[in-house]
């Protein structure tokens, strides 16, 4: 379709992203068939870990990228254009703690501060600041649900689609922080120098 290079997130947003690319006329067959290869020059696709998408787009290694709003909020300092809400991959960023009496509220009441594990330290920090509560943010890299179960923290801030993983680990949602969907982002220089191609993409996607 175009000469644009697109950063595609592996993981939960991959299949929705490839469906979007199909609508743009990009040949995604090779990406669908191959989950180890990273670079697909014929299709103009680079695949990567979701949190790396803004990095590649900001640097201009990709012209466009598709990424969850959660990642964009966490990396709000990235100089990228957020062009379109793609609507798929809908998730909630939530504050959750172990079922029963809320350990986080109890810690806040008695100790004045709650310990919160998350993969989104900046987002969590800003949320507690905005809501006027003191929180000690503990950054973890994976399986956030484990942190309150071992007693390391009082609560977690994490992304959930259906709440199944939380439930299976005996956690309940205490607060919904923000709804997140997949977004189309663009490198600022490409946005100017490849305006026609990028606007054509936007038009196709807006037309549904």
């Amino acid at each position: 379709m175009t000469d644009l290079t697109i950063a595609v997130p592996r993981g939960a947003l991959l299949s929705g992203t490839l469906d979007v690319l199909d609508r743009l006329g990009v040949d995604t067959a090779e990406v669908r068939a191959n989950d180890r290869k990273l670079l697909f020059p014929d299709a103009g696709i680079v695949t990567m870990r979701p949190s790396d998408v803004p990095t590649y787009v900001e640097a201009g290694a990709a012209d466009l990228g598709i990424v969850g709003k959660d990642v964009l909020i966490e990396q709000d300092h990235r100089a990228v254009y957020e062009l379109l809400d793609l609507g798929f991959g809908r998730c909630s960023m939530v504050l959750a703690s172990v079922d029963g009496e809320d350990a986080a509220a109890e810690a806040l009441r008695r100790l004045g501060v709650m310990r919160v594990a998350t993969k989104y330290p900046r987002l969590a920090h800003r949320y507690f600041e905005r809501t006027g509560r003191q929180a000690e943010i503990v950054e973890v890299k994976g399986s956030v649900e484990l942190a309150p179960l071992t007693g390391m923290v009082d609560a977690i801030v994490d992304l959930t689609a259906t709440g199944t993983t939380l439930r299976e680990n005996g956690l309940v949602i205490r607060e919904e922080i923000v709804e997140c969907t997949a977004r189309l982002i663009a490198n600022p220089v490409a946005h100017k120098l490849k305006a026609t191609a990028i606007d054509a993409v936007l038009e196709t996607l807006r037309a549904g």
């Binding site: 640097a59 709000d76 254009y81 957020e82 977004r183 600022p188 220089v189 490409a190 100017k192 305006a195």
Partner: protein, 319 residues
């Protein structure tokens, strides 16, 4: 053991130094031929001087106290110091005044983002030359300087900092409701912009205009798409384009959404892009009200190029 240096700073060794030096010399040659006299100003300024400039995203990051307890800053910008020079050392001089510089400036960084804390800027300031003539001269010099540097595929995005506020005026959006919109614009979030525009509850056609206008970019044909309320901005940009030499005209991309992070811009604004680099190489614009804050009101325009970024783009083009 290895002694460290602060993140965002670096040592420049002879091979690179030779190239940077040659690059600055080429830029200087153009500035000089065009009658721009080079000035050097203190690396340290009083904080009160720099903050008078409304630096927005380029607010000084490094402060220290002198012996008397005054707050000093490492300069984060060269335009404001040169405005100060013009207002104090050239208080009686007949405009226009032409100055150039090649100097290090300092900004705050986030670590591990490849951002520079200290960087070399080369640029010009043309004081006392109103639009469109002054803007045309500065854009012409900008293109000559980039040509002299050897950069081949660069383009210049040209917009107008007053265009969006003018549109908001025309649509009757009250000043206190504008900040959220301008915030989304400066942070380049069109999804957020759409949300904020809908929150205003404007008629659908007006909302559509507010959303679409900052996404307009391209050749002169985009000026024709502007609504009647923006006729002034369109005519101003058209005059600038028509006044440029053909070689410079071909470099221009109109960009109605261009919002530079510096707060002092009042009219035409521009950014320099090259396909070889994912970030702008430099930029500039009109700051017709800045000199007034130093007691010498006059219209002014200028640009700054990031010399290290220009060097990177040249290396990128060469590959």
């Amino acid at each position: 053991m290895t002694e460290r240096i602060p993140s965002g700073t670096r040592d420049v060794l002879p091979d690179e130094m030779r190239e940077l030096h040659a690059l600055v010399e080429r830029l200087r040659g153009v500035f000089d031929a065009r009658g721009y006299g080079e000035v050097s100003t203190p690396t340290l300024e009083y904080e009160a001087t720099l903050t008078r400039g409304d630096l927005g995203g380029a607010t000084p990051a490094y402060r220290l106290f002198d012996e008397q307890g005054n707050v000093l800053v490492l300069r984060s910008d060269m335009t404001v110091p040169i405005a100060r020079v013009a207002a104090t050392r050239y208080a009686q001089a007949e405009p226009p005044l032409r100055f150039c510089y090649a100097a290090h400036t300092f900004r705050g960084v986030r670590i591990h983002q490849g951002q520079a804390r200290e960087f070399l800027q080369a640029g010009i300031e043309l004081l006392g030359a109103p639009a469109p003539a002054g803007t045309i001269e500065v854009l012409t010099v900008l293109c000559e300087a980039l040509d002299a540097s050897g950069l081949e595929t660069y383009r210049i995005g040209l917009g107008d900092a007053s265009a969006y506020p003018a549109l908001l005026d025309a649509l009757g959006v009250r000043p206190e409701r504008r900040d959220p919109l301008l915030h989304e614009l400066v942070t380049r979030d069109f999804v957020g912009l759409e949300r904020e525009i809908h929150a205003l509850g404007l008629p659908a056609a007006d909302a559509e205009l507010l959303l679409r206008m900052p996404q307009l970019r391209g050749g002169p044909e985009v000026l024709a798409e502007l609504p009647p309320v923006m006729a002034d901005a369109a005519a101003g940009l058209r005059l600038v384009l028509d006044g440029l030499p053909v070689s410079a005209r071909e470099r221009i991309i109109f960009d109605l959404g261009l919002a530079r992070s510096l707060g002092y811009y009042t009219g035409a604004v521009f950014d320099v892009y090259d396909p070889a680099l994912g970030v702008p190489i430099g930029g500039g614009g009109r700051y017709d009200e800045l000199l007034g804050r130093f007691g010498r009101p006059m219209p002014a325009v200028g640009f700054a190029l990031g010399v290290e970024r220009l060097h990177m783009a040249l290396a990128g083009e060469g590959q």
